[in-house]
């Protein structure tokens, strides 16, 4: 009991010092709890969304493949359909109260009077659907009336607000079947969470006409029961009534389940990424806590010695430190849980940037969230405090009698240094091993998985030894110019290498991840850019927003631009191929038009790519050719999906797979595909290439822009812009990663602040002495700032060095996947290095201020 009371008193007595290490736990626990609450809430929201909208039984066309929730629209631009006759057959089933046939498509664009796209640009679709009473489950009419007739639509209120649209405004709907002028007749608001899409309703005949081009087809059937039978029984009855056919029939539960699984996949990834970062923050926090407790123990050396002298056992000393840690961990975790809920709310409001209005009413907090958070927070704190507590127990009773001054913990242990060096060397060797991955990145993954943690642990363990070397070099370069103040700062950074090492390690982890990922990202961009330079011959690349296909009207607009020398297009067609050796394979063909070889240069290993694009010809990739022993001149049986039959096509070229842009692409000509596909089964182009007539580049660009003006989702890029697009995609990914890693770096900054603040307290008498003999406040503050900068730069050097090694190893893996260029982003590296110095300055602000305010006399008189 006495032990507990002493511990409690110690925690309270050192509130300020505990606060910072507590912050590390708070942040980590908050991140974990926030992630859990956020994903749970998203799940609840989507569950509700699907539960609200589902009928007892749902009937849809059977899909060829397992689709995902964020499935791209059908490549033909027209959705899969059911015949309208199924409605009557289902209506005749016992227990059916109501049958509703609906039509919807995501391959459509709504354009306002200024030729602006009214749909979301965040990746969520514009959904054009037929209006029926079913929709009232999730929508209510806010203004006007539902659409009726061929030229009326109703849009959702969020889109109307965002685009400043009202009843009576004219729009155009661009679909795979053409351009359709329409007028807004009404506006409907979501009564559930808006999942981020833009909704455009027409009446059923209009939807059938403009989306399907057939008035006798529908895309889904909602079957509501009278309630007399279970959903399962109703499903069985509907299945019987429809007989065999390409139907997907689901009960409401199955429908919800399937959609939940699809959303869950995406949410699951989000969750693991966020938890990964929480883990990094937690790891960084460990160093902070170890440091805090080490310093608290060091400062209490005499006190602990006294307790030992009057008979306290080692266990009691260890116990008292651990109980302090327990109290700290518990308090911080509880706060962290609360902050985590706040974080979840912030994440939810961030989702509104994607157009998703999540309601905090649906905040889902299971009992497991606080349990996990608190157990994790307490466990981490205890583990981190264990080592300092052991050290405390080793303090001899003699310490009470000695005027111990400061702990003599100035040497990094030799054994520790050797172990660390061996571990780091093994890690680096493993990283170098990634170079052996030639064919596939998977070969090198074990090396990376082994090398990253080994090199990290090794460097952390050997850190205190490196402090001596690196800090001296840094000081020689940087601090000497600050004269005696610089020298004092250097000595202070060197006086306790273990402490400096641990403080810097916290920063090192975050920076290593930043450096590693930015090396990988930059290398990917550089590889892709190099390849674009090598292979892209066309002046312009034309594609649609959000990976949508190029609809026929805009495609025709491109083809009609007079200033262009030629236009080619690429379509993707799924197929099944029988190989001569008896094997089968699912192959996605890139179907192109003549002239394509000028626009995009493939590396041909044998044969002639131009001839491959002529009727009856194909090209195959070298890997598959090797695997199945294919050679130029071989015939293959190819069955295009939705095709009219099997065609025998001849291999006329074999292309290299050493390309990021192409990979294992197979090519064939559009005429070849047309021979086996009905016109309405032909997929839309995914991309078009255009080459300007000689010397008319600028005119061609202007003409293209004009021609595509009515189609705002179409994007024209010249070669430079196409490179920027790829850079932007990777850059966006990196920015997200950096933003999340900022958390780890914030925790690391807290660590530097904490170490410095505790050092200042520890050195009170020294500071008093220096002030007495004439050190000015400014010089004192500068001394502390310089020490902080040196520690931060030490962490930066280790972190950036390690990160570059990781990045280079990661690039070796990517090289196996054709990203062959290794590029070190020196600008980022130097910026991070300089930024670290600023971080050091920032971290020193408060401790330096406090040191400056110390009363000289009090400081000298301090025990």
């Amino acid at each position: 009991m006495t032990v507990l009371r002493t511990s409690l008193r110690n925690v309270l007595a050192h509130k300020g010092r505990m606060l910072l290490s507590g912050m590390a736990v708070v942040l980590s626990v908050a991140f974990v709890c926030g992630t859990l609450v956020f994903t749970a809430t998203m799940n609840t929201t989507f569950d509700q969304l699907f539960a609200e909208t589902a009928s007892n039984v749902m009937v849809a066309p059977q899909e060829d493949d397992e689709g995902s929730a964020f499935e791209e629209g059908p490549t033909t631009g027209v959705p899969d359909t059911l015949p309208v006759t199924v409605l009557d057959r289902i209506a005749a089933v016992d227990g059916v109260e109501r049958v509703t046939g609906t039509v919807s498509s995501t391959t459509a664009v709504a354009v306002d009077g200024d030729n602006e796209n009214i749909g979301p640009t965040s990746g969520a679709p514009t959904v054009v659907a037929s209006w029926s009473d079913i929709e009232l489950r999730s929508m209510e009419i806010a203004e006007g009336r539902p659409p009726s007739g061929p030229d009326e639509i109703m849009i959702d209120g969020d889109t109307a607000d965002k685009k400043n649209l009202g009843v009576g405004d004219g729009l155009r709907l661009v679909t795979a079947l053409g351009d359709h002028p329409v007028t807004i007749s009404g506006i409907a608001d979501f009564t559930i969470t808006n999942p981020g899409a833009a909704l455009v309703y027409t009446d059923l005949p209009t939807a059938q006409r403009i989306l399907l081009g057939a008035t006798d087809r529908i895309t889904a059937v909602y079957v509501d029961s009278t309630g007399a039978v279970t959903d399962e029984a109703l499903k069985a009855a509907v299945t019987d009534a429809l007989g065999d056919g390409p139907y997907k029939i689901q009960t409401a539960d199955e429908y919800i389940e399937e959609n939940r699984d699809q959303i869950g996949e995406v949410l699951g990834i989000v969750r693991y990424v966020l938890l990964g970062f929480a883990g990094v923050a937690l790891l960084v926090g460990v160093f902070l806590i170890v440091n805090t407790f080490s310093m608290l123990v060091a400062q209490r050396t005499r006190e602990i010695g006294l307790m030992r002298a009057i008979g306290a056992g080692r266990r009691q000393i260890t116990g008292s430190v651990l109980i302090e840690a327990l109290l700290l961990g518990l308090a911080a975790s509880v706060v962290g849980f609360g902050v985590g809920i706040g974080l979840a709310v912030v994440l939810m409001s961030l989702m509104s940037l994607l157009g998703m209005n999540l309601s905090t009413d649906e905040l889902t907090i299971g009992w497991s969230v606080p349990a996990i958070g608190i157990v994790l927070g307490v466990a981490v704190t205890l583990v981190a405090a264990y080592f300092p507590s052991r050290r405390a127990a080793r303090i001899s009773p003699m310490a009470a009698l000695r005027d111990a001054g400061l702990p003599g913990d100035t040497r990094a242990g030799r054994a520790r240094t050797v172990i660390g060096a061996v571990c780091a060397a093994a890690g680096l060797a493993a990283l170098a091993g990634t170079a052996t991955a030639d064919d596939s990145a998977a070969d090198g993954v074990p090396y990376l998985v082994l090398g990253v943690p080994l090199s990290l642990i090794g460097l952390i363990v050997v850190g205190p030894f490196l402090v001596g070397l690196v800090v001296r070099v840094l000081s020689a370069l940087l601090l000497r110019m600050f004269g005696p103040v610089g020298r004092l700062a250097e000595r202070n950074a060197l006086r306790n290498p273990r402490r400096t090492g641990a403080t810097a390690a916290a920063l090192m982890i975050g920076l290593a991840l930043v450096a590693g990922l930015s090396v990988v990202g930059t290398s990917m961009v550089a590889s892709a850019t190099e390849e674009i330079d090598d292979s892209l011959g066309a002046d312009f690349v034309i594609s649609a927003l959000n990976f949508q296909p190029v609809l026929p009207d805009p495609a025709e607009a491109v083809r009609s631009v007079a200033e262009l020398d030629h236009v080619t297009e690429v379509r993707q067609i799924e197929s099944e191929v029988d190989f001569p050796d008896g094997g089968h394979g699912d192959i996605t063909f890139s179907v192109t038009t003549p002239g394509y070889v000028d626009d995009f240069t493939s590396t041909v290993l044998s044969g002639d790519i131009t001839r491959a694009l002529e009727p009856g010809g194909i090209s195959v990739d070298a890997d598959t050719a090797d695997r199945h022993g294919l050679e130029v001149g071989d015939d293959l049986a190819v069955t295009f999906d939705n095709g009219t039959g099997t065609a025998t096509l001849t291999v006329r070229a074999i292309t290299s797979t050493d390309s990021v842009l192409e990979g294992t692409a197979w090519y064939t000509g559009l005429d070849t595909a047309r021979a086996s596909l009905a016109e309405d089964a032909l997929p839309l182009p995914t991309m078009m290439f255009a080459t300007a007539a000689d010397g008319q580049q600028d005119e061609a660009r202007a003409a293209l822009e004009t021609a595509l003006d009515p189609y705002p989702t179409m994007e024209v890029r010249d070669q430079a812009e196409f490179k920027e697009l790829i850079q932007g995609q990777i850059g966006q990914l990196l920015i997200m990663v950096y933003a999340l890693l900022a958390l780890a770096i914030i925790v690391a900054i807290l660590g530097v602040v904490n170490t410095l603040a505790l050092s200042v307290v520890e050195r009170t008498r020294e500071i008093g002495l220096m002030r007495a003999i004439g050190l000015s406040r400014r010089q004192l503050r500068r001394m502390i700032r310089l020490e902080s900068v040196v520690i931060a730069l030490f962490g930066a050097i280790l972190g950036l060095g390690l990160g570059m090694a990781w990045g280079a190893a990661g690039q070796q893996l990517l090289a196996a996947e054709n990203f062959t260029v290794l590029e070190i982003p020196w600008v980022t590296i130097v910026a991070v290095f300089v930024g670290s110095a600023l971080v050091g300055l920032l971290a020193a602000l408060l401790p330096a201020f406090r040191a400056g305010r110390m009363n000289v006399l009090d400081a000298i008189a301090t025990e």
Binding site: G405, L406, V485, N492, E766, A772, G774, L775, S776, R777
Partner: protein, 262 residues
């Protein structure tokens, strides 16, 4: 006498040219209301140049407070203080720090040295901070006088308590301050080491012309001084020139007696 550095700044005339430091009707009180404690109550004292002055008195007499006020480490509640010609009462921290740096040396009872610096670095620290080059001849002389020539590269934790105090004295001397304040410099030392340090302080006055003010409650230590100022209950109660240990002890006993009878 030629060795002490003259402070170039001229005061407002209150300082006496022959005095290294002066206190005039200095009062110092801590706290307020019922907890108010008066440590100094109208103390006036002149510290002569080139003289080894000891301030003595029983515990709580205000001797350390007087030293702190004279040295510019503490502010006074009333009265005025000069170091050399410069009045330091009301001086801003920045100027005061510079004055301490350039004109004052300190030797404390314990924890005099920075543990991260070796002996010679500690000795030259005040000059380093000021950005001044130490005078090599003077530095050699100081180091030789203190007898530390073979210990200069040692860190404080490699030196004995006596050696540490000698380094502290060397540091105070090396910058050639106008005045050195020593606060119980032998308080933590055994008698042999203490005598060594005191002998060294004595020599620095005799040979180097240094002005020293030492606070102590040890009659043996005080006997090394030229002059003793006795403090009791915040007042100057007596003064003694050319003291011997016996005379000091006698004088101190009278405090004890009075303390018991009053």
């Amino acid at each position: 006498m030629t060795t002490a550095v003259e402070d170039a700044t001229t005061g407002d005339g209150g300082g006496h040219p022959a005095m290294a430091a002066r206190a005039e009707s200095v009062a110092k009180a801590y706290g307020a209301g019922e907890t108010r404690v008066v440590a100094l109550d109208g103390v006036s004292v002149d510290i002569e140049r080139g003289v080894f002055t000891a301030i003595m008195g029983p515990s709580g007499s205000g001797k350390s407070t007087l030293m702190h006020c004279l040295a510019g480490l503490d502010t006074v509640t009333a009265g005025r203080v000069w170091i050399g010609d410069t009045e330091i009462t009301g001086m801003k921290d920045k100027k005061l720090t510079r004055l301490r740096r350039d004109s004052v040396g300190f030797v404390f009872q314990a924890f005099n040295l920075l543990p991260t610096l070796d002996a010679i670095e500690n000795i030259t620290l005040p000059m380093d901070i000021a950005g001044r080059e130490p005078d090599p001849d003077w530095l050699r002389r100081v180091v030789e006088t203190v007898g530390l020539a073979d210990r200069l590269k040692h860190r404080p934790n490699q030196l004995s308590g006596g050696q540490q105090q000698r380094v502290a004295v060397a540091r105070a001397l090396a910058a050639r301050p106008a005045i050195i304040f020593a606060d119980e410099p032998t308080g933590n030392l055994d008698s042999r080491a203490g005598a060594e340090v005191l002998g060294f302080l004595r020599r620095s006055v005799d040979d180097l012309g240094q002005t020293i003010v030492m606070v102590t409650h040890d009659p043996v230590a005080a006997a090394h001084a030229d002059r003793i100022v006795f403090l009791a209950d915040g007042h100057v109660v007596d003064e003694m020139r050319e003291p011997t240990a016996d005379r000091v002890l006698d004088r101190m006993r009278r405090f004890d007696t009075r303390g018991r009878t009053s």
